[in-house]
Each structure stands twice: as structure tokens, then as C-alpha cells.
Symmetry: C2
Amino acid sequence: MAKIKESSTNSINRKFLTDCNLTYAVQLMGGRWKLLILMQLNTERQRYGELKKKIANITERMLTLQLRELEADGLIARRVYAQVPPRVEYTLTDIGREIVPICDALHAWGTRHRSQVAGEVSTLSHESF
Amino acid sequence: MAKIKESSTNSINRKFLTDCNLTYAVQLMGGRWKLLILMQLNTERQRYGELKKKIANITERMLTLQLRELEADGLIARRVYAQVPPRVEYTLTDIGREIVPICDALHAWGTRHRSQVAGEVSTLSHESF
DNA sequence: GCCATTACTTACATTTTTGTATGTATCATA
DNA sequence: TATGATACATACAAAAATGTAAGTAATGGC
């Protein structure tokens, strides 16, 4: 997300993991705010300021960085209107839209996982009395 | 993966993102080597040393850390045999096994994404002559 | 001329993740 | 008594991700 030292083992391992299409895919969507951005854009195309409002807690710097990466990776498209003040709209690309169902599956899995953990916790607290 | 400063904005945002079941799910599988470990265990249960051999480039420290987290999150199970030298086997849990099809979908998406990018590149290099 | 609006950029600090190197416990066997 | 095998643990260092604070450009309206 900033400068990267290409000679480091860390960076070498990142490249190594890019060979596998699975870990490659995770690298593309792995930034902290990326999936939230994609989900927002799945609903409808949105302006920078709208994304900022809808994604609570994100800073302008982070929003910009993640948008830039998503754009560079071809998951979203950026459209600038020649206006002042500026108007910039972001949309999902075709390949970007194709991860939405995967996100839905992940969401469902996360929900199951969480409820299972909650179940175990309540079981434990139940047993401890 | 190490000590976490609970008061930092960074940590607060992590917790905030845990509220969404999608980003929650990504947090559980997001470590650099976690999906490779899960895929290895999907094939069959394996010992620590086997995982180390099969996952090229991973260090013992990283393997241990990621295994610990996966275990703490309930995605894998750890079984210790009372032997010397020690024998420890890892297996997927039920909920851990449930992300395998999602990984397959991600893998397929990654493959499509990569071939599309490659296609664009060759198009560009073609046009530039 | 001054201000408001929008979508950023930049320099810097902090936090987190990842990697390096070395050490540990156990016990059968040589 | 020393050695080898296995699955780690620990202190430390480096790199990367994330966050903070402030500034920028363009232009219409006051």
C-alpha cells in the first residue's frame, strides 16, 4: 500500500503466492476496506463522497488508496466528469461483479461460523454454572 | 499475529469490521498462509512437518502462528499423540471444510481474472507494434 | 478578492504482520 | 553420554499496512 522493497523475503513470498490463483485472488480483495467498497458499488455506482459517507470509519486516504488498487486491478472503473467541483463516479467492472456471489457465500459462511462460535460460548457458560 | 494495541484506531477499525459477517469471514482466512494450509488439509490430515514440506517458503514460526490462529478460530483441529519424538496432526473441522467450495470459486475467479489481465496485456503489446 | 465544494495528495507516525536466528523438551538408540 | 528426530517457543528485526494532519486545484457565487 506504500513503497515495497522488492528484495525482501516478505515481497518475494508475496510474489510466490501470486502463482496460486487462490492466493492471487485473495491478494486482490484483501485490503481492509476493499470488500466493503465492492459491496457498496454492487448496489449502484457511487461518487467518492458517497462511499466516504456510507463506509463508516474509513479515512479519505484509505478510501483513495483502496480505490486506486481496485482500479489498477481492474475490479472497478473510475469515471471523471469535467465539472467544478469535481465529480467522480465508481462502478464495478464485469470481473469485479463476478466476485459478488463469492462474497455472498463468504458472508453466509461467516454468519454460520459466528453463530456456531456463539453457540459454543453459550454452551460453555451454561456448563460452567 | 502478535501483541495488539486495543486502543489504536487500527484495532478499533478491525473490531468494527468484525461486525460485518463478510469482513469477519475474510479476517478468519486472511493470513498470508492460511488458505494454503486449509487446502493442504482438505486433501488429508497432515502432520506439522508434512505441512512444512508441502508449503514451500513458509517458516516454522509462520506455520505455527497460522496454525494456532486457525485452531483458535475453529477452522482446524489439532491432535497430539503421546510419542517421542512428538507427533501432531491437523485436520479440518466441519466449519473449516465449508470454506473449501468457496475457495474453489475464488480460485476459479482468480484464474479468470489472471487470464483476462494477460489478454489485455497481449492486446496492448500487439497494438503497440 | 474571498469562500465553499469536491476529490483528492503529501509527509509523517503508529500499528501490525512477517521474517531471522537460535533455543527447548522428550526419549529411544548408538 | 551423546545424538537425532519432531514440534514447537522466544527475542529481535524488518517490512508493510493503516492512520493523522494538513494542504491543493479549480471555479462559480457572494
